[in-house]
């Protein structure tokens, strides 16, 4: 059933010198089931120097993401993050397929539900009639079989909701939390 699928949307943002992240779990209608966020983390000047360029990936993957995943009572079916985060070489250890969804500029595929594999980890999915297909990018840890299962779940969820929209909602929520905190 559609209600059994849980989608987890992860987003970590940098506001000033602080980092904070949020994890939104929704059903296939996009309705929130859970939302967790971290307190803002402000690395010291010395930590910024010692960690260098690895500071941000370390904070997002090792500190923020693991903390949020630990808080979930049941693991989600799909772990969705932004395409930028995934392209940056995501190396987290989620127990479910990790992927990114992005609106594409490609021509519509034949019919709704059609998929087109553009690469080993890059698949186009037609969700709506006449609309541009959705680009789905999987993390390197997701094998082909897991990709197929994930595509079926995405197709089912995409029938009811905009799969890319919840990430924007998490970003807005995190920004509002930063403003409220300051």
């Amino acid at each position: 059933m559609a209600e059994s699928i849980k989608l987890a949307y992860f987003m970590a943002v940098k506001e000033g010198a602080s980092y904070l992240g949020g994890l939104l779990v929704t059903d296939t209608s996009g309705i929130p089931l859970d939302f967790r966020y971290t307190e803002p983390i402000t690395p010291t000047h010395l930590q910024s120097i010692l960690y260098g360029k690895s500071l941000e990936p370390h904070l997002k993957e090792e500190v923020i993401q693991k903390t949020l995943l630990k808080e979930l009572k049941t693991p989600p079916d799909l772990f969705i993050l932004s395409a930028t985060e995934l392209a940056g070489g995501w190396s987290g250890d989620a127990k479910c397929p990790v992927l990114a969804v992005q609106k594409s500029q490609e021509a519509p595929l034949v019919k709704v539900g059609t998929t087109f594999r553009a690469g080993p980890r890059d698949i186009l999915l037609q969700l709506a009639e006449g609309a541009a297909p959705l680009r789905v990018m999987f993390a390197a840890s997701v094998d082909a079989a897991a990709q197929e299962q994930a595509m079926a779940k995405l197709l089912e969820a995409g029938y009811h909701m905009d799969l890319t929209e919840p990430l924007e909602r998490v970003t807005v929520a995190l920004q509002s939390l930063v403003v409220k905190g300051s």
Binding site: S29, I31, L33, E71, E129, Y159, R169, A173
Partner: protein
């Protein structure tokens, strides 16, 4: 036989010797060359009527100082020359006697051997080596301090009410994909629930939203979706099909939950 041939050969040789031995030798003494010159006509000046007659006067070169004597050139004398050598060209032959070659004297030249060793010049004296001294004073050992670079642990906070406060878009389902019988039943329930004539209703969409806890609902016709604000009770509430319709006569929005399949 051979004697006659030898005699004939000797006669012929004697004949040739006598023939060419009597040629006279003429020594040609070159005459000195005297260049000849001819005297040309003197320049004359013809006076023209109406003008004063021109008179040619000789003027000395005053470019030089006074007193510089002018050189008097000797008068040129013309003399006829004849080349006598051409006369004897075809008549007599001139015999040139060549000096026979003589053996020359040869001298032996000995090549001096190359020196086996060469002297090096300009060699510099080695620089004086400075003496080394040892500094026995050790540096003071610094004390070490430990600064933990690990990032502090963070805690996760629940923020469902924060995210529920944001408008949540819910996309309309494709009515064409529904079974026809089910859609007929939904239409009947819509008429019953709103009390309107089915011809006066325009269906805007079928949505699945929580049965309770919907605080606000707005229709987004451009993207055929609704934006809802939910309360905390909506999270656990069951999702039910919800039809949003517009009354054609006054444009008012009507809605009702319909029985799920």
């Amino acid at each position: 036989m051979f004697g006659r041939v030898r005699g004939a050969m000797a006669d012929a040789a004697e004949t040739l010797r006598r023939t060419f031995a009597g040629l006279p030798v003429v020594t040609v003494v070159p005459e000195p060359f005297h260049p000849g010159s001819r005297r040309g006509a003197l320049l004359e000046v013809a006076p023209r009527p109406g003008l004063d007659p021109l008179a040619a006067t000789g003027r000395g070169a005053r470019l030089f100082r006074e007193g510089v004597p002018s050189l008097a050139l000797p008068p040129l004398v013309a003399k006829l020359q004849a080349e006598a050598g051409f006369a004897s060209w075809g008549a007599e032959a001139e015999v040139v006697r060549m000096t026979p070659l003589e053996p020359g004297r040869a001298a032996r030249v000995t090549v001096p051997p190359l020196p086996r060793q060469v002297r090096t010049l300009g060699r510099m004296e080695p620089p004086a080596c400075p003496g080394t001294r040892r500094v026995a004073e050790p540096l003071a050992r610094p004390g070490t301090r430990r600064l933990d670079p690990r990032l502090s642990e963070v805690s996760a906070l629940a923020g469902l009410e924060v995210i529920l406060g944001l408008p949540i878009p819910i996309r309309a389902e494709d009515i064409q994909r529904l079974p026809k019988g089910l859609w007929m039943r939904y239409s009947l329930q819509l008429v019953r629930g709103t009390g309107e004539n089915v011809r006066n209703l325009e269906v805007l969409g079928l949505f699945r939203i929580p049965r309770k806890g919907v605080a606000d609902l707005r229709h987004d016709p451009r993207q055929s979706r609704i934006l809802v604000r939910l309360e905390a009770s909506a999270v656990r509430a069951p999702r039910e099909p919800f039809i949003l319709a517009r009354r054609k006569d006054d444009g008012a929005l009507l809605s009702c939950f319909v029985e799920g399949s």
